[in-house]
Symmetry: C2
Subunit: 215 residues, 2 copies
């Protein structure tokens, strides 16, 4: 049997350890509970995004002349690349090569990607929409006079990325733009419902490009 002093010391050490574990668990719980609330502003300098987008190359292998470090584009890419199950994209204009690569990478990783876009803009030179379709990603578009002018994405049904930014190099590097990254359900749920509404409305079986006489 241990002497009384050793028993007291062991008891004290156990109590300190238990308190430290409890504090750590509380801190982890608070970190986990806090929803993401981030704001990005553009334009910004663009840094090398190869470490985020390359599938095979080890980090730091890129020899491009772009500066290293974080920038609004790399932060946006990181949020997108956190998708594990689903990604809904609803974009007026999509021509950024880096964002296109990120979406294709997620598709290859098995994330269910769906894209809604604007009919007038999807075929413009530099558009990523054709690349996404060839990669096997389903894309639907409007067929009426108004623009499909949304610029949002939803990651794993729980994180909304929305703002003024079209996913184009012009917008990222030259325009004054904003992007909100939001996990509050009050915002995410209505946008998810809007996506599903548009997805159904733009179902190709509903297209009426040709009048009935021509069918």
């Amino acid at each position: 049997m241990w002497p009384a002093v050793a028993r007291r010391r062991a008891g004290l050490a156990l109590a300190v350890l238990a308190a430290a574990l409890a504090l750590e668990a509380l801190a982890a719980w608070r970190r986990r509970r806090r929803p993401v609330r981030e704001v990005l502003f553009f334009p910004s300098r663009v840094t090398c995004t190869e470490a985020l987008l390359a599938e095979a190359a080890p980090p730091g292998a890129c020899r491009c002349p772009l500066p290293r470090g974080d920038c609004p584009l790399s932060r946006l890419l990181r949020r997108l690349l956190s998708a594990r199950r689903s990604l809904e994209i609803c974009l007026f204009a999509f021509s950024s090569p880096q964002l296109g690569r990120a979406v294709q990478l997620l598709h290859r990783r098995g994330v269910r990607v769906r894209v809604v876009t604007d009919a007038q803009y999807m075929a413009l030179s530099g558009s990523q929409i054709g690349h996404l379709r060839r990669a096997g990603i389903p894309v639907r578009h409007d067929q009426d006079n108004g623009f499909m002018h949304h610029k949002f994405a939803i990651v794993d049904k729980k994180m909304l990325i929305t703002g003024s930014l079209n996913w184009t190099t012009q917008a990222i590097q030259n325009n004054r733009e904003n992007v909100l990254i939001v996990e509050d359900a009050e915002y995410v749920k209505p946008f998810l419902a809007e996506f599903e509404r548009i997805w159904e409305e733009y179902n190709p079986i509903n297209y009426t490009f040709f009048s009935k006489e021509n069918k």
Copy 2:
């Protein structure tokens, strides 16, 4: 003196009243503390907004054929018209007559209105910018190649209105658009700082439209 039964009943009634008042106060406190979190989607039918915008006419006096009731535009107008002290507006395109009237109304009520807009779009036919300037509202604009593509407003430094919607009749009535109305400080503060940054950068004393040789 009251008999014991009456005293007990009066005591019970008082206790119930106190509990009801306490619950009501708690509910009012919770209502007051809860930040606005609203999402509007466009396009939508447009209802008559005269009751909101008319300064003299009694409500219901308008004889226009538009339907009555609420719509996303009237909700947006109501949020804007809640301004009491300040309104910062940062808009790529602004041509909606109803939203223009709301901004002028606030200006006449003594709200400090400041507008930032895009140089390429502000002089287009139908733009409200000229009307706002003639009314005495200060407007500043970019002078570079990129677009000033933001679409946000800040009411009384505490409510952010932002999204994909330019303030144009085309966007309101024909496009797929979104507007978030947000009181969370994590979003409002960065947008306010962005507005002040742009406001200073677009100060006319910094304009360099003319090369030095021509000055």
